[in-house]
């Protein structure tokens, strides 16, 4: 009998989001290696099967099917992009394969999971709602901002984060003065930044892509926004590379992330070290969440006492998993109760201001 545990990973290995795919795979592979080196789960080794979603739903579904039908995987982790995950859900459901999401933040995914419908979907990642709330709260209460300009990526992630920002901002007397979304790969932000310069916004709410942040920061510098307008939101503000691109602009930036390399816990530090040793580059958030999710799955299998999917599912819903950022449990929508980490750039270094979890208000069906 085949004793290995077959784990599928769906991620964007090609296309504009390929970078996320690479980090995800590396993170997951590192975890698998750690587990296998430690003797596996009750003696069973994990084997990982990677499939490319190209960041598009149809390819994501194809990839999922192939993992299920050809590679006969028992578990799937994926995808990064919410649109793809949403499309994968029914496929996993039909096949009765456990789908663990590690990086998509669109709330809809767990609105429709657990008691919401899809019994086989779990998410080990905080939602946009949570993120939007704590950023808005911090910006208003700690920094005293009231006028905000939106400049986010034009995707379900960027757009839904703003949707929730709008939901909570009135609670903090905040006001949005302009709203713009950029396409992946956009490089020219001068027009919008000039508008923001003139409309009196104190902060730019940016739920964006890591690679765009330096461009925007540079152009803010060019337009003389450094020190006048602050970046808040999410978009790898905290990495050395980003800060180096325009230190003056990023000073004071506020970010909420599921994880960041500077997070101060022994597990986290150890992960950063191992990852850097293995791949010669510092991990990012996506590497971490995939690494973490594999470990979470391993613990669930261990607690279930067998790789049987139904048992593992039950184990997951009852699990108390100690992650690098705190204890993880799942609610009845199979959504992990996870903290978001809030940080601010001070003196060119990220400084952590706290970790906040928030209960999700599920829409009444």
């Amino acid at each position: 009998v085949d004793e290995t545990i077959r784990l599928g990973l769906v991620s964007p290995m090609s296309g504009p989001n390929a970078r996320y795919g690479a980090f995800s795979l590396h993170g997951a592979e590192l975890a698998v290696k750690e587990i296998n080196d430690a003797g596996g789960i009750d003696g069973r080794k994990i084997e990982i099967f990677s499939a490319d979603s190209q960041g598009t739903p149809v390819e994501g579904v194809s990839a999922t099917r192939r993992l299920i039908d050809q590679d006969k995987v028992n578990y799937i982790i994926g995808d990064v992009s919410s649109s793809v995950t949403l499309a994968m859900q029914p496929v996993a459901e039909d096949a009765g394969v456990l789908l663990l999401n590690a990086a998509s933040s669109n709330p809809k995914i767990t609105y429709g999971a657990g008691v919401g419908g899809y019994k086989w979907t779990f998410r080990n990642y905080p939602t946009d709602e949570n993120r939007a709330l704590i950023v808005a709260k911090y910006a208003a209460e700690q920094r005293g901002f009231t006028k905000f300009a939106v400049l986010s990526v034009d995707s379900d992630y960027g757009r839904s984060a703003i949707t929730f920002t709008k939901k909570y901002l009135p609670d903090f007397k905040g006001e949005i003065v302009s709203e713009d979304y950029y396409k992946e790969g956009e490089v020219d932000f001068r027009s919008v930044l000039a508008k923001i310069r003139d409309n009196g916004a104190q902060a730019i709410i940016m739920y964006g892509l890591a690679d765009t942040t330096p461009i925007i920061a540079r152009q803010m510098l060019e337009l003389g926004l450094a020190g006048k307008v602050t970046l808040i939101g999410n978009g790898e503000f905290n990495t050395e590379k980003t800060i180096k691109s325009a230190p003056k602009v990023l000073e004071g930036a506020v970010e909420a992330a599921a994880w960041l390399p500077a997070f101060d816990s022994p597990e986290s530090k150890a992960f950063v070290e191992k990852f850097t040793a293995a791949y010669n580059e510092a991990p990012n958030n996506h590497a971490y969440v995939h690494w973490d999710t594999v470990h979470l799955l391993a613990q669930a299998i261990k607690e279930a006492g067998s790789p049987d999917q139904a048992k593992v599912r039950d184990a997951l819903s009852k699990i108390k998993y100690k992650s690098a950022v705190g204890e993880v449990t799942f609610d009845d929508h199979n959504q992990a109760r996870l903290p978001m980490i809030l940080l601010q750039i001070e003196d060119g270094k990220p400084s952590i201001k706290g970790a906040y979890a928030a209960d999700i208000q599920y829409p009444a069906n």
């Binding site: 290995m13 090609s14 390929a18 499939a51 490319d52 190209q54 598009t56 739903p57 149809v58 579904v61 194809s62 099917r65 192939r66 299920i68 039908d69 050809q70 649109s83 949403l86 499309a87 859900q89 029914p90 039909d94 669109n106 809809k108 429709g112 419908g117 034009d154 995707s155 379900d156 960027g158 757009r159 839904s160």
Partner: protein, 328 residues
């Protein structure tokens, strides 16, 4: 002379008919022999075959190179997605509505676009896809923007007391196969008729076609709409199969895939489109090695196609088919 011709063709038909039946049987048996994954790939191939058929009428027969197919595909997908999600209309209503919506929208788009020639027309059609995506993203009250439409129900048929839901992969395969065969037959009937010949005339030389009395403008418009109908139906099936629709359905990548199916299969041939959709969807699946190598291989395939199979694979298939027919 005419006598020998007749007997020859009869001899041929005798051999090709059983083979055709065999192929059909193979298609019918596929879910029982092939893995679910292969069946899934076949479903995607069958779905993409619909817009490709439409595109073939446009590119292969009428000579209008268009990249708009993804736009109509997207319109079809959204039309049936919205109907299904908001009004819960039955599947066949959605499919019909998707086709009609795509066809109807093609009319106002086609009227200005078809006044353009060659490259301008191509770019204009590409514009439809890009603008379509922008609308899908930004008209949030209708389309829910990037969040997309999810939980589109599986096709459900209800005829009086009988009701049936197409839920599994196998069932959906038969549904797609049926639609695919019907569409292929429809295209076959169109291109064999005098209308098909008129379309070819327009492709060959529009002014000359005009001068022998072919209302080229009306033909082009109708074929444009027809191709949109095919794409719309394809989009509808796609939505019901994947159960989600997002603005990414409006993608230049889909338009080029459809174009590659048609040109690579053999523009102006039906067998080419059928074969092309199997090959080029199959190929992308088969090439799933490492993503970059796969794309490089795909690109090289395109170059091979251009240099060695300028007419696509259809001539090769037809020669094969003929040799089967004339073999004793």
């Amino acid at each position: 002379m005419s006598l020998t011709e007749v007997s020859q063709s009869q001899q041929r038909r005798d051999l090709r008919l059983p083979l055709g039946v065999l192929l059909l049987l193979a298609a019918l048996c596929a879910p029982f022999v092939a893995s679910t994954y292969v069946v899934h790939a076949l479903i995607i191939a069958l779905i993409f075959m619909l817009p490709a058929h439409g595109l073939n009428l446009l590119v292969g027969y009428t000579g209008l190179l268009s990249l708009a197919q993804a736009a109509f595909f997207g319109i079809g997908a959204y039309a049936s997605g919205l109907l299904a999600v908001t009004y819960g209309t039955p599947f066949y209503v959605n499919v019909a509505a998707a086709g009609l919506a795509a066809g109807a929208i093609a009319l106002p788009l086609g009227i200005p676009a078809l006044r353009l020639r060659s490259t301008s027309f191509v770019m204009c059609t590409l514009g439809f896809v890009i603008i379509g995506q922008a609308i899908a993203k930004n008209w949030i009250s209708l389309t829910r923007g990037d969040m997309g439409l999810s939980s589109i129900p599986k096709p459900h048929f209800a005829l009086g007391p009988l009701s049936f839901t197409v839920s599994g992969t196998t069932a959906f395969y038969y549904l797609a196969l049926t639609v695919g065969i019907l569409a292929t037959l429809a295209v076959w009937m169109i291109v064999r008729s005098p209308a098909g010949r008129n379309m070819i005339a327009i492709r060959e030389n529009e002014t000359l076609a005009e001068s022998v009395g072919i209302p080229t403008w009306r033909y082009k418009l109708i074929v444009f709409m027809l191709s949109a109908v095919f794409a719309g139906v394809g989009g509808s099936l796609y939505a019901h199969y994947l159960t989600v629709v997002s603005p990414l359905t409006f993608q230049m990548y889909y338009s080029t895939t459809m174009l590659i199916i048609v040109l690579g299969g053999g523009a102006g041939t039906i067998s080419g489109v059928v074969f092309g959709s199997l090959l080029f969807v199959g190929l992308t699946e088969a090439l799933r090695v490492t993503p970059e190598l796969r794309m490089i291989a795909y690109g090289l395939c395109l170059l091979v196609l251009v240099f060695w199979f300028r007419k696509g694979f259809a001539p090769v298939i037809n020669r094969l088919w003929d040799s089967i027919g004339s073999a004793k």
